[in-house]
């Protein structure tokens, strides 16, 4: 383990890739994406709780729901209570959650009773909670919901007028302070560790080609001991990477919406992800004939994880592909903590951790077997 750590800080290329690169990336991206940007998506999953469903004026709330559905921008999922809907939103299963308040229909009827006398209106507020972990949802959902509301009240001749109904947007108010960097920061944690794959592959093929592995195999230390030691080394490096990315993020003003427990969880899931990276590295080493070839082979594992599992915008097919990328589960968990501000008890982050850990152990196991069988000769 000691020799690998020494190699890391004595080899300029390795030092750059594992330590300097994540810091540089954090700082450059942090400054580059300080302003909120846009994006595009075809539809949003919206949870809906209708508290006005049993009122005599329920036809208005039903019309609002129909308009949401007909807009083809929203996929509406009905919820029976506020807690379940909020929980789904917090875990990233919904882009937004809308609560139609009691008296919603009465408000519209009161408006039509006296359109020019606001003092006689019955005022209500639609609850709108947007997934603050989704830059696209934060930007697009509130105006779209507003537009649907206007269509519901005024029909296709919707105008910008005063209404007895407001749309609350607590998540929007909070999100409006987010920069694009806030949305990208969680992906950086995975991005930094992904390159461990290349370092492991190069290191293992180099040691094989130079006869070092053979030499070590004539000592009492078993191959398993050696591989475990290598894996532990890279887990230490992953811990350092997380600490550096966090420190440099803090230095440029980033403040994640989580506490010490969330930070600790990030270290744990990053460690689990380092197993994934080491596993891919061993597999790359097993199928590479030289250290040079292993660099190219490593990128076959690195690139898809970069594009589909870190901070790149996902939607449609890329989102489906992303589900097969271990890095996406790390990014999702950190997004849930850092952007959505979900508590540490949120089930989805533990599911993400379980997925990353299982994949990590599995890939390291497969990597060791393949390297022993095909790569270490």
């Amino acid at each position: 383990m000691k020799k690998d750590l020494k190699k890391t800080h004595r080899e300029p290329a390795v030092l750059f890739l594992l330590i300097i690169f994540p810091i540089v990336l954090t700082i450059i991206f942090g400054f580059a994406f300080g302003g909120i940007g846009g994006g595009g998506t075809t539809s949003f999953d919206v949870g809906l709780l209708n508290l006005d469903a049993t009122s005599p004026q329920a036809e208005w709330s039903m019309a609002f729901i129909d308009n949401l559905t007909d807009s083809e921008v929203f996929v509406v999922h009905a919820y029976e209570d506020n807690t379940t809907g909020q929980s789904a939103l917090l875990q990233g299963n919904l882009d937004a959650f809308i609560v139609i308040p009691e008296g919603f229909g009465d408000s519209i009827v009161s408006y039509y009773g006296s359109p020019i006398d606001p003092s006689s209106w019955t005022n209500t507020t639609i609850g709108l909670y947007v997934d603050s972990g989704s830059m696209i949802a934060v930007s697009a959902v509130p105006p779209l919901v507003q537009q649907v509301l206007m269509n519901t009240v005024f029909g296709s001749d919707a105008m910008t007028l005063n209404l007895p109904i407001e749309i609350s947007s607590p998540a929007l108010v909070e999100s409006s302070t987010f920069s694009q960097w806030d949305f990208m920061a969680p992906g950086i944690f995975a991005f930094a560790s992904i390159f461990l794959t290349m370092i492991v592959a190069q290191s293992m093929t180099y040691e094989r080609d130079e006869g070092l592995l053979k030499r070590l195999r004539t000592t009492p230390v078993s191959s398993a001991d050696y591989m475990v030691s290598q894996t532990l080394t890279y887990m230490i490096i992953a811990t350092v990477q997380v600490a550096l990315v966090l420190a440099s993020s803090f230095a440029i003003g980033y403040r994640p919406a989580t506490g010490p427990a969330g930070i600790a969880f990030t270290f744990v899931i990053a460690l689990a992800f380092s197993l994934v990276a080491v596993g891919f590295g061993l597999i790359a080493a097993a199928i590479s004939k030289s250290a040079e070839v292993s660099t190219g082979v490593s990128f076959a594992f690195i690139m898809p994880q970069m594009f589909f599992g870190t901070f790149m915008p996902l939607g449609g097919l890329t989102e489906v592909i992303g589900k097969f990328m271990p890095s996406k589960y790390l990014t999702d968990a950190v997004t849930t903590l850092f952007l959505r501000g979900a508590p540490i008890t949120t089930p989805v982050i533990w599911t993400n951790l379980a997925i990353v850990s299982i994949l990590g152990f599995l890939l390291v196991g497969v990597g060791i077997v393949l390297f022993e069988k095909f790569g270490s000769r």
């Binding site: 130079e210 053979k214 030499r215 004539t218 009492p220």
Partner: protein, 248 residues
């Protein structure tokens, strides 16, 4: 401690259709410095790699300090020190760190390791360079460090595969002195070499191998007398009709 340091019985190793070692039988005693001579591709390194557990024989058996190389490889690795033909080392580590790493791999106690490394380095004349990174070393320095890496665990049996290739005469003499000292300590040493003067100077007995077969065995003096040759090179020439070192 077993009666013989190394016992090789009808050892054969095939790689496909190629027979690298062909029905080799040898017995090497404690305190014996045993040379294996032969041209490139004769099967010397293959035989050594079977003894150091990197390769398994196709047929036959070998025991090292009484431990079978196939059935008890872990026990074999505890008593051997291996200096490979191609010096394998970590270039970003210093010479001392490379040697210490091998000591760690052999589970040498920490309190012993540091002083042992310093003592070995002094004997081999590397004390002025040992704390430089290995990638800055000359070929001869790397060979010397590689040999110390093999011997840092104070092995009962040393397997030295061409340890003095590319060394200047002074360094080679230092290594020879070191090997003699190991022999005096009662260790069994197998030395494969291209250098006939090295074998004549150091070895108690030598085995001459060609195309995997043992073609002669005995002390250098006996072999030269028996075959009425001036040196071992000539012995080989008389036995096989070809030169021992085509490349030199």
């Amino acid at each position: 401690m077993s009666e013989s340091a190394i016992t090789i019985t009808n050892l054969t190793k095939r790689f496909g259709d190629i027979i690298a070692v062909d029905d080799l039988s040898l017995e090497i005693g404690w305190g014996e410095l045993f040379g294996i001579l032969g041209p490139n591709g004769a099967g010397k390194s293959t035989a050594v790699n079977i003894l150091n557990t990197l390769l398994e024989p196709t047929n036959g058996s070998a025991t090292v300090d009484g431990h079978d190389v196939v059935f008890s490889p872990e026990s074999v690795r505890e008593v051997i020190g291996v200096c490979p033909q191609e010096p394998a080392f970590y270039p970003h580590l210093t010479g001392r760190e490379n040697i210490t790493l091998m000591g760690d791999m052999h589970l040498v106690p920490k309190d012993v390791l540091g002083s042992r490394v310093s003592s070995m380095v002094e004997k081999i004349g590397m004390e002025d360079h040992i704390d430089r990174k290995a990638k800055e070393y000359s070929g001869g320095m790397i060979r010397r460090v590689s040999m110390l890496m093999a011997l840092v665990n104070d092995p009962k049996i040393a397997l030295l595969d061409e340890p003095t290739v590319a060394m200047d005469p002074k360094s080679r003499r230092a290594v020879w002195d070191y090997i003699r000292e190991l022999k005096m300590q009662g260790k069994a040493i197998i030395l494969t070499t291209h250098y006939m003067e090295e074998a004549q100077e150091l070895c108690d007995r030598v085995a001459i191998i060609d195309e995997g077969k043992l073609i002669a065995i005995g002390s250098p003096t006996d072999l030269m007398e028996t075959h009425q040759a001036k040196n071992l090179e000539e012995v080989f020439l008389k036995l096989t009709g070809k030169k021992l070192r085509e490349d030199v």
